[in-house]
Amino acid sequence: MSVIVFVEHDEGRIKKSSKEAVCYAAALNSGDVIALVCGNTEQKEMELLGQNGANRVLHATESRLDHGDIQAYASVISQAMDKENANIVVLAKSSVSDAVAARTAIKADASFATNVTELPDTADGFKVKRSIFTGNAFAWVELLKARKVICISKNAVIYKEEGGSAGVIDFSPVLTDNDFKSNVTGRDKATGKVLLPEAEIIVSGGRGLKGPENWGMIEDLAEALGAATGCSKPVSDLEWRPHHEHVGQTGVKVSPNLYIAVGISGAIQHLAGVNSSKVIVVINKDPEAPFFNAADYGVVGDAFEVVPKLTEAVKAMRS
């Protein structure tokens, strides 16, 4: 028996979330952990997956796999399952992984679950805990089929980097034109930035910041912390910030170690995207802002005075 991990990469670098999925697979203790990498990636990056617990890496080099084609990925994974006699597939939350998990499960006649937040309970059957109601509740679900496809959310397992390097084996699944019906014509992407879903620290700004010209202080604080920047929905609706930074029910759901909310009121739809953060800091001039009810640390004050002071304090600590 073995476990396959579907590993995603970004600009040739393996995503932290996928490394976490490898750790999760290793912690399952269900046989060999095989990392499946699609498309062009750095060799070294793949070998390093050994540190997260991969026994070997299957590399599907077909160049059409460089793009996030859901159908094609599902075909590759289900073929890898057959080849490796794998009963479990682990994926990490991403913009394609939920749908890839679903299509893979149907191809492989497997049970599946997305948004899984911890290791399964295997005392009696195979039960997973998944996040529902946008982080406001959980469901324990028993996966009944012999084969299982699990898509995990961030922090579902303790992250480990130990062990050695993994050998990389070329893998050539049979793919047809049918697997590649989506023709990718281009991409617009912020490069070299910390991606919001992967970020350990996020500094997020709301309408309280008055206008896009005031984002400099948010970026300064984010830079001092090595953080990604986020925003509330009105801020992206008003086009003060790009849409992919919008956090919440209709935007990105994040679970960083630290979420700093500046000038955001804390509407329930915003909280839905941040409620699995480890620690929340709220800076708001209104002591009645609902966000304080969800915060661990609060500062009542004017963002334009508080944020620069906080940035200075962070710099002083870091130097």
């Binding site: 617009d188 992407k189 849409h243 661990d296 500062v299």
Partner: protein, 245 residues
């Protein structure tokens, strides 16, 4: 063009989440129900496509009779007719099987859904329906234009967008800003009453999973307030107490 839009009937985003029956049932006491926000985007885009280039729109929901007001709302916004598959939406595989059964051999050019439901948060029904119907599926669709038989799509990826061209038919999981949410007007609400809402029986499916129980997150601890003049104190707490720096 024939468009099928799949909608959920879900608790309003401000609802208090609680469970009954030994944590095995959602407590719907006092809860207001709405069309899922992502599904609402899908309906809105379908109506825009109908207005700009002509289309017929069917909405479908897997649910019991209490979902009919929500279905009528989609009709009021501009869908032409509706199908309610009369069953408890037990899990995503069950739901997808029902939708695929209704869609197969019906000649839909486009099947629009939300990126995810806000109760179950699976993000999977569009993928499963695509797989069952053996057609492509795309998720996180934030722009969708139709040019002849080809769709031009922008989908959200981590940190940006990806542009795709794809021939119909396919399934799309939609999200903002694909369209502006539409509010039904009086005329829409009146005409919706007489639009066909067909109730059909579900097909049998096998079961891939079983709900064990629901659980609420642990209550949040107390908040610590920090003097705005003393940001070095906040930094020190984040470093030494919370250990996140």
């Amino acid at each position: 063009m024939k468009i099928l839009v799949c909608i959920t009937h879900v608790p309003d985003t401000t609802s208090r989440i609680a469970f009954t029956d030994g944590d095995t049932k959602f407590d719907s006491n006092g809860v207001q129900y709405i069309i899922g926000p992502y599904d609402d985007y899908a309906v809105a885009r379908a109506v825009e496509l109908k207005e700009s280039q002509g289309a017929t729109i069917t909405v479908v929901n897997v649910g019991r009779v209490e979902t009919e007001p929500t279905i009528r709302k989609a009709l009021a916004i501009g869908a032409d007719d509706a199908i309610r598959i009369n069953a408890e939406p037990e899990d995503s595989y069950f739901v997808a099987k029902q939708i695929a059964n209704v869609a197969k051999d019906s000649g839909y050019d486009l099947i629009l859904m939300g990126r995810e439901s806000i109760d179950f948060n699976g993000g999977v029904v569009h993928g499963i329906v695509g797989e069952l119907l053996e057609i492509p599926s795309v998720s996180s669709v934030m722009k969708l234009d139709i040019d002849g038989n080809v769709a031009k799509i922008a989908r959200e990826i981590e940190g940006g967008k990806e542009y795709i061209e794809l021939e119909m038919p396919f399934v799309a999981g939609c999200q903002e800003p694909i369209a502006e949410w539409k509010i039904p007007n009086m005329r829409g609400i009146m005409t919706a009453r007489s639009k066909p809402l067909n109730v059909v029986d579900p097909v049998d499916t096998d079961h891939l999973d079983k709900l064990v129980r629901f659980e609420l997150p642990p209550p949040k601890g107390d908040i610590k307030m920090i003097d705005p003049e003393h940001m070095e104190e906040l930094v020190s707490l984040l470093k030494n107490e919370a250990k996140v720096l």
